[in-house]
C-alpha cells in the first residue's frame, strides 16, 4: 500500500457505527415539525384574512344573516343533530367514552 493509498484511506474514514436509520428518523422528524409549523402559520394567516374580510363586511353580513336566519334555523338544528350523531357513533369517540371495550 503506497503512502497515498494510506492517506486516502485515512481521510476517507467514515463513522464506525451505522446509525443511518436513527439519523434519518431524527432529520425527518425535524423536517415534519418545520412543515407543521409552516402549515400552522399559513392557516393562521388565512384565518386572519378571512376574519378581516368578515369584519369589513360585517354590516352587509348582519343584514343578510338577519334575513336568512329564521328560514335556516330548522336546517341548522338538523345538521347539528346529524353531526353530533356521527361524532358520537365514530369508533374512536365511542372507545374514548367507554362504550366499546378495547
Amino acid at each position: 500500500m503506497t503512502p497515498d493509498d494510506q492517506l486516502s484511506g485515512f481521510l476517507g474514514e467514515q463513522p464506525a457505527v451505522s446509525r443511518a436509520d436513527l439519523f434519518t428518523a431524527i432529520v425527518m422528524q425535524k423536517i415534519e415539525h418545520r412543515v407543521f409549523l409552516g402549515r400552522i402559520a399559513a392557516a393562521a394567516g388565512g384565518a386572519a384574512v378571512v376574519g378581516l374580510i368578515a369584519w369589513a363586511c360585517a354590516p352587509a353580513l348582519n343584514v343578510l344573516i338577519g334575513a336568512l336566519a329564521p328560514g335556516l334555523t330548522p336546517v341548522a338544528a338538523a345538521l347539528a343533530l346529524v353531526a353530533a350523531t356521527l361524532l358520537v357513533s365514530s369508533p374512536s369517540v365511542r372507545q374514548r367514552l367507554g362504550f366499546v371495550s378495547i
Binding site: G9, F10, E13, Q14, P15, V17, M28, I31
Partner: protein, 171 residues
C-alpha cells in the same frame, strides 16, 4: 440517482428526501468529523433540514451532493462564529462517533496523521478530506465550499505534502 430523488423531494416527497439523507449522511458526517467539527452529527442534521427548506433554490438536481456539503460547510462555519454550544459529550456518545479505522494504516501512522490534520487550516483540511479522502474533483470542492479553484488546488497539494511528510517520518 440523486437527481430523480431530488425531483421527487422538490415535489414534496418526504420519502424521497429520507432516501437522500440515508445515502449522504455517512460520508457527510465523515467529512465533518475529519474536518475537525466535534458536533458533526448536529451540523449534519441541521444541514439536511436546511437543505429540505431550501431545495427550491438548488439549481441543478444532479448537483445535490456538492450543494448539500456547501450548506453543511456554511453551517459549520456559522456555528463556530456563534455562541459556544454545549460541547460536553459522554464517552458512549464519543464512542458512537468514532470513525472506522482504515485498513492498512498503522495505529501510529493514524495518530500522526490525526495530529498533522489538526494543524492544517480548516479550509485546507476540508479540501484535502474531500479531494483525497472522498475522491471529489477540485472543481466540485470549489463549487461546494465556495473556495476559488486555484486555492483548492494549492490547498490539496500543500496539505497532501504535509500529511505525507508526517507519514514518512513515522515510518
Amino acid at each position: 440517482m440523486d437527481a430523480a430523488l431530488v425531483r421527487q423531494a422538490r415535489a414534496g416527497s418526504q420519502v424521497a428526501f429520507a432516501r437522500l439523507v440515508a445515502i449522504h449522511e455517512k460520508p457527510l458526517r465523515g467529512f465533518l468529523r475529519k474536518s475537525g467539527w466535534i458536533d458533526a452529527d448536529d451540523i449534519a442534521q441541521e444541514a439536511f433540514v436546511a437543505a429540505w427548506s431550501h431545495l427550491p433554490k438548488l439549481r441543478e438536481d444532479s448537483g445535490f451532493r456538492a450543494w448539500l456539503y456547501g450548506v453543511a460547510w456554511k453551517k459549520a462555519l456559522s456555528q463556530r462564529r456563534g455562541a459556544q454550544r454545549a460541547a460536553v459529550r459522554d464517552e458512549a456518545w464519543r464512542g458512537e462517533q468514532d470513525l472506522e479505522a482504515a485498513a492498512g494504516v498503522a495505529a501510529e501512522d493514524r495518530l500522526a496523521l490525526e495530529k498533522a490534520l489538526a494543524t492544517l487550516p480548516e479550509d485546507q483540511r476540508a479540501c484535502v478530506t474531500l479531494c483525497l479522502g472522498q475522491a471529489w474533483s477540485h472543481a466540485e470542492v470549489s463549487d461546494a465550499l465556495g473556495i476559488p479553484l486555484g486555492t483548492v488546488k494549492s490547498h490539496v497539494t500543500r496539505g497532501r505534502e504535509r500529511l505525507l511528510a508526517v507519514l514518512g517520518d513515522s515510518q
